[in-house]
Symmetry: C2
Subunit: 367 residues, 2 copies
């Protein structure tokens, strides 16, 4: 396999190291913004040198973001090259278009590392959907927020302090919005939903309520109730389509979920035949993520099927059917309310629009 590698950041440089150690895998050319002395391979600053090189059969896109990743990935497929990417933002936003293009061009498109970092989550999900009916997916899909919530719970400290510490440790980016507001988890959920249920849902229809409004006093209140708070992305098949959202949830301190701490992820599915399954491990990081990217490449080289699944029935998100108990804390104090997911997120949006203090967390049902 001759690879054109786009990007040499945390994941890109880790992939470079792994691919160079892997027999049969060659990095034919590396796209960089300016030439790098630390990469000992042919380099270019012009994507045309990769897309027009007939010797390159696979483009590995690790630059992230929508643009120019979108232009590069579509051009690569149009030029008959396979694409492997860890770019959840791109694949989530352009799911239909990219999968359709891959099919039309007869090339492979893989993105296992776009959700769960080093965990073979999307891959395992796709393997299962071929022979079972998945009815729910859920879990801790963002390591940054799990690190912050774990640290707040351990130390009783405030959100802002722990965000700064997460940034210092490299767990959070300089602009943490995508992580802390739940958008990153939301994209991973949309990809999981699309592959799990054989559908295509719009990212904008999935309500996200993150953790930027949480206070040490909320954590202290949860502790008194024997609960811990986790940012959970969850979705299930309902009679009317798909219910899906990202929101903080409260779990018993004695339960399994309370033991997933720091930047780790725990992602679960429920299916009619196999029942419940869960997958845990490092949800981010250069080498874990790069490992999943390389595994995708090797499966393409071994001749496996082009995309995870063939189905992508367009479907709307409807959160009226799922009613839960929520902890709600405003200026007026904290209380507990039974609401549908739609009602809860509408309430959160109202407080946000009015720029009033607000935090909520759903109480997970006992299993």
């Amino acid at each position: 396999m001759k690879i054109g590698l786009l990007g040499f950041g945390t994941v890109g440089s880790a992939f470079y190291t792994l691919a160079r150690e892997c027999p049969g895998t060659e990095i034919a050319r590396l796209l960089v913004l300016e030439k790098l002395p630390q990469a000992d391979c042919a380099q270019t600053t012009d994507f045309a040198d990769i897309v027009n090189d007939p010797a390159i059969d696979t483009v590995v896109e690790l630059i992230g973001g929508l643009h120019p990743a979108y232009e590069f990935v579509t051009a690569a497929m149009k030029a008959g090259k396979n694409v492997v990417t860890a770019n959840k933002q791109l694949v989530c936003a352009c799911y239909d278009e990219l999968v359709t293009l891959a099919e039309k061009q007869g090339v492979a498109l893989r993105c296992t590392a776009a959700a769960g970092g080093g965990i073979p989550w999307l891959h395992s999900l796709a393997r299962l959907t071929a022979c079972d009916r998945v009815t729910a997916v859920s879990g801790i899909m963002n390591g940054t927020t799990n690190y912050i919530l774990s640290a707040m719970t351990d130390q009783g400290t405030e959100y802002a302090d722990n965000l700064r510490e997460a940034q210092r440790l490299g767990y959070a980016e300089a602009d943490p919005t995508a992580d802390v507001e739940g958008y990153d988890a939301c994209r991973k959920l949309v990809l999981s939903v699309n592959i799990a249920f054989g559908v295509s849902i719009p990212e904008a229809e999935v309500p996200c309520f993150g953790i930027s409004g949480i206070a040490a006093a909320d954590i202290a209140a949860f502790k008194r109730l024997g609960l811990v708070c986790k940012l959970i992305a969850h979705a299930e098949l309902t009679e009317n389509g798909v219910a899906a959202c990202v929101e903080p949830m409260l779990f018993p301190v004695s339960g399994q979920m309370a033991h997933i701490n720091g930047p780790d992820n725990l992602i679960s599915l429920r299916a009619e035949r196999v029942g419940a399954q869960s997958f845990a491990g490092a949800g981010a990081g250069g080498f874990p993520t790069a490992s999943n990217v390389l595994a995708d490449c090797l499966e393409i080289a071994a001749g496996c099927a082009p995309f995870y699944i063939a189905e992508r029935r367009p479907l709307s998100v409807g959160n009226d059917g799922l009613r839960q108990r929520y902890y709600v804390r405003t200026d007026a104090g904290a209380d507990s309310r039974l609401m549908t997911v739609r009602e809860a997120h509408a309430l959160a949006a109202e407080y946000k629009n009015n720029q009033q203090p607000f935090f909520m967390a759903a109480v997970a049902e006992e299993k």
Copy 2:
């Protein structure tokens, strides 16, 4: 894909149901001891009708045991047919021979369902070994013993009562030896080790100490120490080869392991690049296991590589390097001893040979 199905027991009949619902998968002929009215497909009592049918490209072996499964599987591969099996006993005992034969014949051989039931454990392990170095595998690999230990812990009842209940519920067989003495977990461990480390170790070299000697008094002692007992299969790469054994282990009641109860499995790996990963779900049962069998079939149909990995360097098992603290209970009472795994299992064998009461459990290290 045209399948010759061998066996119509719990897993065989579940596979029959799943495969019939799956587009592109046809059960061309079913091998049974006597014709079954409940199976609506061509049936035979003579394996020759399957092995000599050129229309059948894949044999799915779900009869279990060494013979005649060995003869059927090898004859099928010699006739140029792919083989998918859930038979841990067979693949564990004849690993080198079967993998070599599959390579020589250019057919696929898959056995994901042989370990972890419905969990895509061996599959994920193989995906990872292609791009990372796995250094340890471990976990709860047997649902029967986990059910019995969970029930003893919940209810404070004796081993024999819970074994009977497990048999009544279908979690344990009439002859429970393979499960309760750890031989079933041992076979799953050997397959995991072989695939994880790219080696081939002899099953007979892996010491097994099961749970048939456990008493309610042991469980009560563990409870007083804040510990729960699980039957664990574990192996790690050491300087001198592979350390591997099956033995009861004690975990903190507040930890993650204590939450895996009933017939569920939790299997983990550690690798240099991805760190720790774990996989949990139904470790047995007709439909979960059949689901993994069918997923193997579909991957073969999609043209994926013939066996999980190519490597199988013969390697000995050496348990001198791993020293642990053990709870040891004899007629003289219970104490705690620091021993190597080799020393502990030699001690257990001595008491067993003398038919004297004995139970031991390793104390898991805090992580």
